[in-house]
């Protein structure tokens, strides 16, 4: 295949240069959200509800306003009125209206001349609450007796008769699962649950905002998408979008959690009131209590299988709790659940359920990891009971090019089979297991996304290149952008500098989400470089007095395209750049589009785990990630994404959870009792990059950031279940839970 062969001719793509932002980050020169200051800056503190559900009877800030150093207090009244849809949801979440809807819900904010003064004044704000009944569990929230979070929040997709807390429904599939189950030799149906987990980024949300009486503003913030912040802030503060310029800081982790807006409009509202710059840095406890973890779930999955491993039918019900607002990613949970398999009879139903918890936010492949946990656990149990090899069964049923996907469309070129084959050939899969250890296999799927993208590539007079992209670098993307520009222009990697431009510099760029950046900003970079090459060739053609079409670009030089074009020495980029002022002016390439063709990505993970039968403690002893990258631009950063997804999955599977007391208060709003894995909890995570090129990208790139977290919950649960000899159906598999399961079995 010509496309595949082209892939072998790269000079820069596929190498592993140091990242351009590396030195800044290891020397402390990089500026993160909280690193910005401004003359006359105030410090802000947000006052939050201690109740899971309460009517706000009265807020009296008069004592706080009179306190030393206090310059402004804002409440809901200081934001735009009459918003609708998601803008209303965002505002209601970042500043409560009539009711506090969860423990940690913001009710007021203070700006003062020091953070200590702001904290002291915050204690003087009197808020009178009338405590209301609350619910935090997804299954309880659907029961008749559950308090209603918000009347009328449901849309038309919800079947009649369901509890008002069920606000959206997804129902898809094809064939008739019952018919499929009738053909099966074994049918297993089980219930699975997962707890809410936080993205666990190390950098708390932070911003510095200025909004003047003239409606013009500047905002520096830590975000995955500053155009979105600009748009949301403009709406919530009722100012014109273009009057607010937003600059994205370096980012200390996001994983989806920084696609949402939590604090920036508050800082700007305080700034507008005080007419001073306002800095707002979230304490860690607030990050846990009031930013978005992912959804918790309750899932029923039923799968039928023949003795030869053929899956005859599958169905699933996926209930996702997303806090006090609509938006739990239940449609993704449902759609990803059976995506790896070619099924004649399949149906998936999802429910979006509201509870008194913080508004969920995207977390790396939102909704998919939980679905894989339920589905791949049932497949593992079917394989165990039928005595079948877990990879052979998955290969037998695997989705391939042309297969009708469980949720509707037919697959384009995909690499699931290739990941399964690579997993089967990997030494890990055939390595002997220690006594008492267990092995788990799981596949996983994520859609990947493209989105609105704008890029500009400006040539400097010395022939180096300044590339401006609009997607914050959350995973080493600046290196990949430099590499793709260098590849197209035929210049060294070091000659390209990539900058994340602010909102005033480029057209709209969608958030760095959906594993879209290397795909979409990469595609745009390649196209902008090609646009630049055309202009470079034109300058050479003009100089040589030949047609632009008769000039080619090769190895950083313009050359005549053949003997007929004329006999001229190659003209290097530096020569053209040095004279561009005299030959027609600055040379700038650009590209703006909403590309279509973000290739989906599949992965297969292999996990070995040991369980201490006396304490229930799990040790993950070996871990191998096999994933289709389409084309790995910078293999080290692709491997880093694979390892990061596995590491976060280990935490989610074993220990991470939101723990609420009976009053609906979050008990573990800190990293001591919200247990993300530490380095010593992890084995070295081995990676295999499979490359089945994506036809929708010039180099074949598929997004890689999210798929890596889809299989871990299931793969680890399967390993632990096989080690313990008892099926673990609830996450996290904390030691006490494993010990209880072991006791129940014996």
């Amino acid at each position: 295949m010509a496309f595949d062969e082209e892939m072998d001719e790269f000079k820069v793509v596929g190498t592993r240069p140091d990242r351009p932002d590396g030195i800044d980050k290891v020397t402390g020169r990089a500026r993160f959200g909280a690193d910005a200051t401004a003359p006359g800056m105030l410090h802000a503190v947000i006052i939050r509800s201690p109740h899971a559900h309460a009517r706000i009877v009265r807020i009296d800030a008069s004592k706080a306003e009179a306190a030393h150093g206090v310059k402004a207090v804002v409440t809901r009244a200081d934001f735009a009125d009459g918003l609708e849809g998601e803008n209303w949801n965002i505002l209601e979440n970042l500043m409560a209206g009539e009711r506090a809807l969860y423990d940690g819900h913001a009710v007021a904010a203070i700006a003062a001349t020091s953070s200590l003064a702001a904290r002291d004044a915050a204690r003087l704000v009197e808020v009178e609450y009338e405590v209301l009944p609350h619910v935090t569990d997804v299954d309880e929230a659907m029961q008749e007796a559950a308090p209603v979070i918000r009347e009328g929040a449901a849309d038309g997709s919800v079947p009649a008769g369901m509890h008002p807390n069920v606000v959206r429904c997804h129902d898809s599939g094809h064939g008739d699962p019952e018919e499929g189950f009738a053909e099966a030799d074994l049918v297993i149906e089980e219930r699975f649950t997962t707890e809410a987990t936080h993205q666990g980024y190390i950098e708390p949300h932070a911003c510095l905002g200025t909004l003047g009486p003239d409606g013009r503003g500047e905002l520096w913030c830590c975000t995955q998408g500053h155009w979105n912040v600009q748009k949301v802030c403009a709406a919530l503060l009722d100012v014109e979008t273009s009057k607010l310029r937003v600059t994205a800081s370096e980012i200390g982790g996001g994983f989806g959690g920084k696609t949402a807006v939590f604090i920036e409009p508050v800082a700007l509202a305080l700034s507008r009131k005080a007419n001073r710059p306002v800095k707002l840095v979230m304490p860690r406890a607030d990050v846990f209590r009031a930013t978005g973890p992912t959804a918790s779930t309750s899932m029923d999955v039923k799968i039928g299988m023949k003795k030869d491993g053929t899956i005859t039918g599958a169905s699933g019900v996926f209930r996702c709790q997303g806090g006090a607002f609509p938006g739990a990613p239940m449609e993704f949970t449902a759609m990803c659940a059976f995506a790896p398999y070619a099924l004649k009879h399949v149906r998936q139903v999802g429910y979006d359920v509201m509870t008194n918890r913080p508004k969920q936010a995207a977390y790396r492949a939102p909704g998919s990891p939980m679905a894989a946990f339920a589905v791949e656990s049932v497949i593992d149990e079917l394989c165990n009971r039928l005595g079948l090899d877990p990879i052979d069964v998955r290969l037998k049923n695997a989705s391939r090019e042309g297969t009708k996907a469980s949720f509707g469309p037919s697959w384009d070129r995909i690499g699931l089979v290739e990941t399964l084959e690579a997993a089967k050939e990997h030494p890990h899969f055939s390595a002997p297991l220690a006594e008492g250890a267990g092995r788990g296999i799981s596949c996983g799927f994520w859609f990947n996304h493209a989105g609105e993208t704008a890029v500009q590539l400006a040539l400097s007079e010395d022939g180096t290149v300044q590339l401006s992209v609009g997607t914050p670098d959350i995973g080493g993307s600046r290196a990949s952008m430099c590499m793709m520009a260098a590849e197209e222009l035929g210049i060294p990697y070091e000659d390209v500098r990539t900058t994340i431009a602010d909102t005033a510099t480029l057209g709209y760029n969608e958030i760095s989400h959906g594993s879209r950046v290397t795909y979409a900003s990469g595609l745009a970079t390649i196209e902008a470089a090609r646009d630049t090459v055309k202009k470079l060739c034109k300058r050479a053609a003009d100089k040589w007095g030949i047609d632009a079409e008769a000039v080619e670009w090769r190895d950083g030089c313009a050359i005549p395209s053949g003997p007929n074009a004329g006999d001229f020495d190659p003209m290097p980029i530096k020569e053209i750049a040095g004279r561009m002022g005299q030959t027609g002016g600055p040379i700038v390439g650009h590209f703006e589009a909403t590309p279509e063709g973000a290739g989906v990505s599949f992965a297969t993970h292999i996990v070995d785990a040991e369980v201490d039968r006396e304490t229930g403690a799990t040790t993950v002893t070996r871990y191998t990630v096999v994933q289709d990258a389409g084309k790995a631009i910078h293999p080290s950063y692709v491997e880093g994404q694979y390892q990061g997804g596995a590491a976060q999955g280990i935490g989610w599977a074993l220990n991470e959870e939101y723990i609420y007391d009976e009053d609906g208060r979050l008990l573990n709003a800190g990293f001591l009792d919200y247990r993300i894995p530490v380095a010593s909890d992890l084995p070295m995570i081995d990676t295999v990059i499979v490359e089945v090129p994506n036809p929708g990208h010039p180099y074949g790139v598929r997004g890689v950031g999210e798929t890596s977290i889809c299989p871990p919950l299931a793969a680890i649960a399967n390993a632990v279940s096989n080690a313990a000899g008892v099926r673990m159906q609830d996450l996290p598999m904390r030691p006490s839970r494993i010990l209880e399961a072991l006791k129940a079995r014996s």
Binding site: I659, P677, V678, S680, D681, R734, P735
Partner: protein, 285 residues
């Protein structure tokens, strides 16, 4: 907040005795500063004892006993080979606390005076038979470590009293100690259960044993029945079973976000057995 740097424990005690508000002594600060930063405790008087002479000394006395200054850090303890050779359980217990950075600051005395039932070094110190020197307005006294904690966050120290040093007894021949804790992670966590065992052997036979449990009651417990279950045995299965049973029987834990009553009680028995095996092996070397 007033910050003091006295040059003697007598001065430190006098400042504390004269204070009328909230007082905290500052050694490593790994609890005090965290409590301060998270608004749990804002001291009116913060008395830093690190300027006092000898406060970071580890001394082996002629009789084989040890004096460990109140500000000796976990990192310093962990590099003291002679102490590790004699009291490996005490050293490993303090070493389990926190990260490398915390190890540079955290102290035995601070871990004890913080009063947490989950303090890692306290069961090891109690098993070892450690005491503390206390300086107060009425002079100095020596108290057994097990007599210091009285409840979560509370100690028997009187107003103005400050711990100046930790004493470990002479190890003697054929002795060994060990500390194990259970945490859901491998590091950077707080004990769900902790178990310290110290014992002496005459040949294969255990002649003396002390067992202490952490995080299973309002204070760290010295479980005399558990120690007694080992004495006279060669750590056979029956003795280990009796040890576990005594340990479980002593537990009076709570169910909280870190563990249930059932889990803590069960794991206390498991860890007591495992720690006893390690201590026994160490005593035999």
């Amino acid at each position: 907040m007033r910050y003091h740097t006295p040059s003697s424990f007598e001065d430190a005690s006098a400042i504390a005795a004269a204070a009328t508000g909230v007082t905290r002594f500052l050694a490593g600060g790994t609890d005090v500063l965290v409590q301060l930063r998270s608004d749990l405790v804002t001291p009116d008087d913060l008395i830093d004892i690190k300027q006092i002479a000898g406060v970071r000394d580890i001394t082996r006395r002629d009789d084989g006993s040890w004096r460990i200054g109140a500000a000796v850090s976990g990192a310093e303890l962990a590099e003291h080979e002679a102490l590790i050779a004699e009291w490996p359980g005490v050293v490993e217990a303090l070493e389990l606390i926190g990260s490398t950075q915390i190890q540079a600051r955290c102290t035995l005395a601070g871990n004890l005076c913080n009063g947490s039932p989950a303090a890692d070094s306290v069961p090891a110190m109690i098993a070892a038979g450690a005491t503390v020197n206390v300086v107060g307005p009425e002079g100095t006294r020596e108290i057994a470590v097990e007599d210091v904690p009285t409840g979560p966050g509370m100690t028997s120290l009187r107003p103005g009293e400050v711990v100046s040093a930790v004493n470990l007894p002479a190890r003697g021949e054929s002795g060994g100690d060990a500390y194990l804790r259970f945490i859901p992670r491998t590091e950077m966590d707080i004990a769900v259960v902790g178990a310290g065992v110290s014992l002496s052997r005459d040949g294969d036979t255990i002649t003396a044993a002390r067992v202490a449990l952490g995080a299973v009651a309002p204070t760290v417990l010295l479980v005399e029945e558990a120690g007694a279950a080992l004495v006279g045995s060669a750590l056979d299965d029956m003795a280990l079973a009796a040890l576990a049973k005594a340990a479980e029987a002593a537990c009076r834990p709570i169910s909280d976000k870190r563990g249930t009553v059932e889990f803590r009680t069960h794991v206390a028995g498991v860890l007591a057995r495992r720690a006893a095996r390690i201590a026994y092996d160490r005593a035999g070397v």
